[in-house]
């Protein structure tokens, strides 16, 4: 039974560049699509507002676990879809970004684990999310097409 998610991706950029994109809160926000209130600090709650289309009503909350320069960045976060969810009271999963230097750039390994901690009602939430996801995809396609035109 697969209770974790793992992704490997080759990035044609130096480790230092990828590290900055992951751990500088403004850069992280650019690609993750979240507006963060402040820098990531180990042991502290990172807060912000999602900017991903269809998810804007949701707050971003994560607890930074590890920041080992150019090697490992990790945080825990919750999977609740309630806008007023409080991360200190919710079950969480662990997200880890591991970086390795390669000949052409960086090998990034993303792992998310701890799904066994999650609550009962994920199934319904997943359906709701999927709805939001499709709306988001349509908007993405739209802006892509508009830019190209």
């Amino acid at each position: 039974m697969n209770d974790r998610i793992q992704k490997l991706i080759e990035l044609k950029a130096p480790v230092s560049r990828v590290w900055r994109a992951l751990t500088d809160h403004r850069e992280f926000g650019e690609w993750f699509r979240v507006k963060l209130d402040g820098p990531f600090v180990v042991g502290q709650i990172s807060r912000g507002q999602m900017t991903y289309p269809g998810y804007e009503h949701l707050k971003w909350q994560a607890i930074v676990q590890k920041m080992e320069p150019e090697r490992l960045f990790s945080f825990t976060w919750h999977h609740s879809f309630e806008p007023d969810a409080d991360i200190t009271k919710e079950p969480t999963t662990l997200v880890e970004f591991r970086l390795e230097k390669t000949e052409t750039g960086t090998l990034l390994t993303l792992t998310e684990s701890g799904f066994e901690n999650l609550p009962d009602n994920l199934r319904t939430e997943a359906f709701r999310r999927n709805d939001g996801g499709w709306t988001a995809q349509m908007k993405n396609i739209e802006s892509h097409v508009t830019q190209k035109a």
Partner: protein
């Protein structure tokens, strides 16, 4: 998306934590492997090839039953067990969904650092 849907009108919430916990055991995984073909099996059939007592097997089956991975059907004096794929499909569906979100996020990261 309507407010009504927010309450989740059809899908019965499934308990995920017990499902993962129930599957985190070799004996129970082997029981699921024997049952997931779709045929119902008696405790004696499920015991075949195992050194465990009937009581021990029953205990494991009850754990799987509480997690809604299997359910029992009574035929006469005998209890037979059947696999219930819904619990596992629910988790798989959610993991697939989160996985898809990561694919999208990582592809945005790729264009961001390579651009």
């Amino acid at each position: 998306m309507s407010r009504k849907k927010h309450r989740g009108r059809t899908a019965k919430p499934l308990a995920y934590a017990p499902v993962f916990a129930a599957l985190g055991d070799e004996t129970r995984l082997s029981l699921v492997a024997k049952l997931c073909g779709g045929q119902s099996r008696s405790i004696s059939q499920l015991r075949e090839g195992s050194k465990l007592t009937r009581q021990a097997i029953t205990k494991h089956l009850r754990v799987l039953e509480r997690a809604k991975i299997v359910h029992s059907v009574r035929t006469g004096r005998e209890s037979r067990f059947e696999f219930d794929p819904q619990a596992m499909e629910g988790i798989k569906q959610y993991l697939d969904f989160v996985s898809e979100q990561w694919d999208q996020a990582l592809s945005r990261l790729k264009s961001f650092v390579e651009g």
